[in-house]
């Protein structure tokens, strides 16, 4: 049985932020992730928005954490090598009713401590982004866009660098509490024991909470579908454009440029029973085309390169169905457990502020010594296409693998793919390589590079053809050889 001081259940952005923040202290830390990678669920299936914090009820954890996370993100992005742009955001309106609601949110933003929000007219909107729909808008300068895959991966990699251990494909199936207060976690990969358990299981957080002895929470998965548009559309999109919030204070479909120059259109929003069903529906796509065009004037079929869906784990009041705040708790009647339930949007923005609250809860209950070797810096893979021509020439001369372009749409080189294959978390799926490098995220969607990437995975990791996986579980890519006999 493997023993740790702290085990975190769930390696999404929040779980990985908790792991990273815990490694500032002298603790042995492990993360148990049931999927093949740290960003295959909610953390990787969202808009990649650094929220400002004006939407949330004043005084709520959502408001506090979003504002705190937003303010520090320039430094976080620098430390962790996360692609990030503080683009600002437009929340656009069409009607007088919209205008009243926008004014309400400017006031709410002011109370929450969101800087610089103002109502602007169409003329100002045209200066900021002529492709935005709407007649007037809130301009919120502190909002930004980030790469949610890389942010989650960076938190995890930095945690690993500072001593945390990641166990992928490890699903917790049951928990026992021993007489000495330790917990034994039964998993799909054997038993683990620890003094502290942090539940950051996202969509499964209510289920895990119950396993840990805190039943009664209800998670309502709210699913959203998206389109990813080609960079040709991205050339028009300067700033995230959101519609005025609905009467229920949620956002409908928005159009957001990504840090890489694509455009995301979505999400719609509907309740589902199974939050891990990421299928997209025709009716959903049809709706997005229509509502997306209201936000982004260049929304058209020619620009579609991909669709995806994600689900937000909303904690609801079982009696009223009302959506509740983040739950961050450490209860005296259930010692050794920090419980995070209902961490949904703005969870990405709030990941580190939530993590600090978790650490503080543990520190309030036991004395922790600082880890003198903690290094907050994580360096990502050097990206060829972001380098100047001079730097590119230098990269190739130092490592010829930089001279071999594997993904032609995104200009990703063999050197980057190899670095990704040997990633610190030991992720070895095709999608794992994709989210780390952007290879096959372009308009041909891997038509050119996927055959090369799978060959490199087999070669670098000495894998049999039948062991190559696309993503989670038994997502085998190949059924065997065409012609048998001795294989080279």
């Amino acid at each position: 049985m493997q023993n740790y001081d702290v085990i975190i259940i769930g390696g999404g952005a929040v779980g990985s932020a908790v792991a990273r923040e815990l490694t500032r202290w002298r603790l042995s830390v492990a993360v148990l992730e049931k999927e093949s990678d740290v960003c295959t669920q909610t953390s990787g299936r969202n808009t990649g928005m650094l929220h400002a914090g004006f939407l949330y009820k004043p005084g709520s954890l959502k408001a506090q954490c979003a504002v705190e996370g937003n303010a520090e993100f320039d430094q976080v992005a620098r430390e962790l090598g996360v692609p990030f742009k503080r683009t600002g955001k437009l929340i656009v309106g069409f009607t007088e009713e919209d205008k009243a609601r926008l004014e309400y949110f400017i006031e709410r933003g002011r109370i929450n401590g969101v800087p610089g929000m103002e109502l602007i007219d169409r003329k100002r909107m045209d200066e900021i982004d002529p492709s935005a729909g709407g007649n007037f808008a809130i301009h919120c300068p502190s909002s930004g866009i980030l790469d949610p895959f890389i942010y989650t991966i960076a938190l995890a990699e930095n945690a690993v660098k500072n001593g945390a251990k990641y166990h992928l494909y490890t699903e917790v199936t049951g928990v026992d509490r021993l007489d000495d207060g330790r917990h034994v976690l039964h998993t799909s990969q054997g038993d683990f024991s620890c003094r502290w358990v942090v539940n950051s299981a996202g969509l499964n957080s209510a289920k895990v909470s119950a396993m840990l002895g805190i039943p009664g929470y209800v998670i309502q998965p709210v699913k959203g579908e998206y389109f990813v548009l080609d960079k040709k559309a991205g050339a028009f999109a300067k700033i995230p454009v959101y519609p005025a919030p609905t009467a229920k204070f949620t956002f409908d479909t928005h159009a957001t440029p990504t840090v890489d120059g694509n455009v995301l259109v979505g999400p719609n929003s509907f309740n589902v029973e199974d939050g891990e069903d990421y299928s997209v529906r025709q009716v959903g796509m049809d709706g997005l085309q229509e509502s997306g065009a209201r936000m982004f004037k260049h929304m058209k079929r020619d620009y579609y390169i991909r669709t995806f869906a994600g689900a937000r784990p909303k904690r609801i009041d079982p009696a009223t169905g009302e959506v509740q705040d983040f739950l961050i708790e450490c209860r005296d009647d259930v010692p050794g457990v920090v419980n995070l339930v209902g961490i949904e949007s703005p969870g990405l923005t709030s990941a580190l502020p939530i993590a600090r609250r978790v650490v503080n809860m543990i520190r309030e209950r036991e004395e922790l010594a600082p880890n003198p070797d903690f290094d907050p810096i994580r360096r990502g893979i050097t990206r060829f296409h972001e380098a100047s021509r001079e730097e590119q020439a230098k990269l190739i001369s130092e490592n010829p693998d930089y001279g071999e372009i594997v993904c032609r749409c995104e200009t990703i080189t063999r050197a980057e793919i190899i670095a990704a294959i040997h990633n610190p978390l030991g992720v070895c799926t095709v999608n794992g390589i994709k989210v780390r490098t952007r290879a096959s995220m372009g308009r041909c969607q891997g038509g050119y590079c996927e055959t090369r990437i799978t060959a490199m995975i087999r070669e670098e990791l000495k894998k049999a053809v039948t062991d190559v996986r696309l993503t989670n579980g038994d997502s085998y890519m190949f059924t065997g050889y065409v012609k048998g006999g001795e294989q080279a």
């Binding site: 012609k483 001795e486 080279a488």
Partner: protein
């Protein structure tokens, strides 16, 4: 009897209306060239096809070399021929035109290499 044939002799892919008695072709219409009539006759008597597949190669820059038949074989023998080819392995280098199997299954057709593969 009347039937429509799609001629596969060339990319024109003529739709040929044929009248025939048993294996005797009475009339054909729709073919752009005389090969169409020959094709229909052949289809009635003994339909034949060529196939292309691949063979394992060891010690080469690719794990497979492409091969094809030099002459069409009876359509109902295609999978027999595939089985025969599947058992073979070549050693690099290979050259276009190399004969892998001469007169395969006595069907008057050779299996030939269609790709040059260098030795590693």
């Amino acid at each position: 009897m009347k039937r429509t044939f799609t001629c596969i002799v060339c990319p024109n892919g003529c739709e040929i209306e044929a009248e025939y008695e048993g294996t005797e072709v009475l009339t054909v219409t729709g073919n752009l060239c005389p090969k169409g009539r020959t094709y229909v006759t052949q289809e009635l008597v003994d339909p034949r096809r060529t196939i292309a597949t691949s063979v394992r190669v060891t010690g080469g820059t690719l794990p497979l070399v492409s091969v094809r038949l030099t002459n069409a074989i009876p359509k109902d023998r295609i999978f027999d021929v595939m089985r025969e080819i599947n058992g073979r392995t070549l050693t690099a280098p290979t050259h276009i035109g190399d004969i892998v199997i001469k007169n395969i299954l006595g069907l008057d057709s050779d299996v030939i290499v269609t790709k040059n593969i260098q030795k590693v």
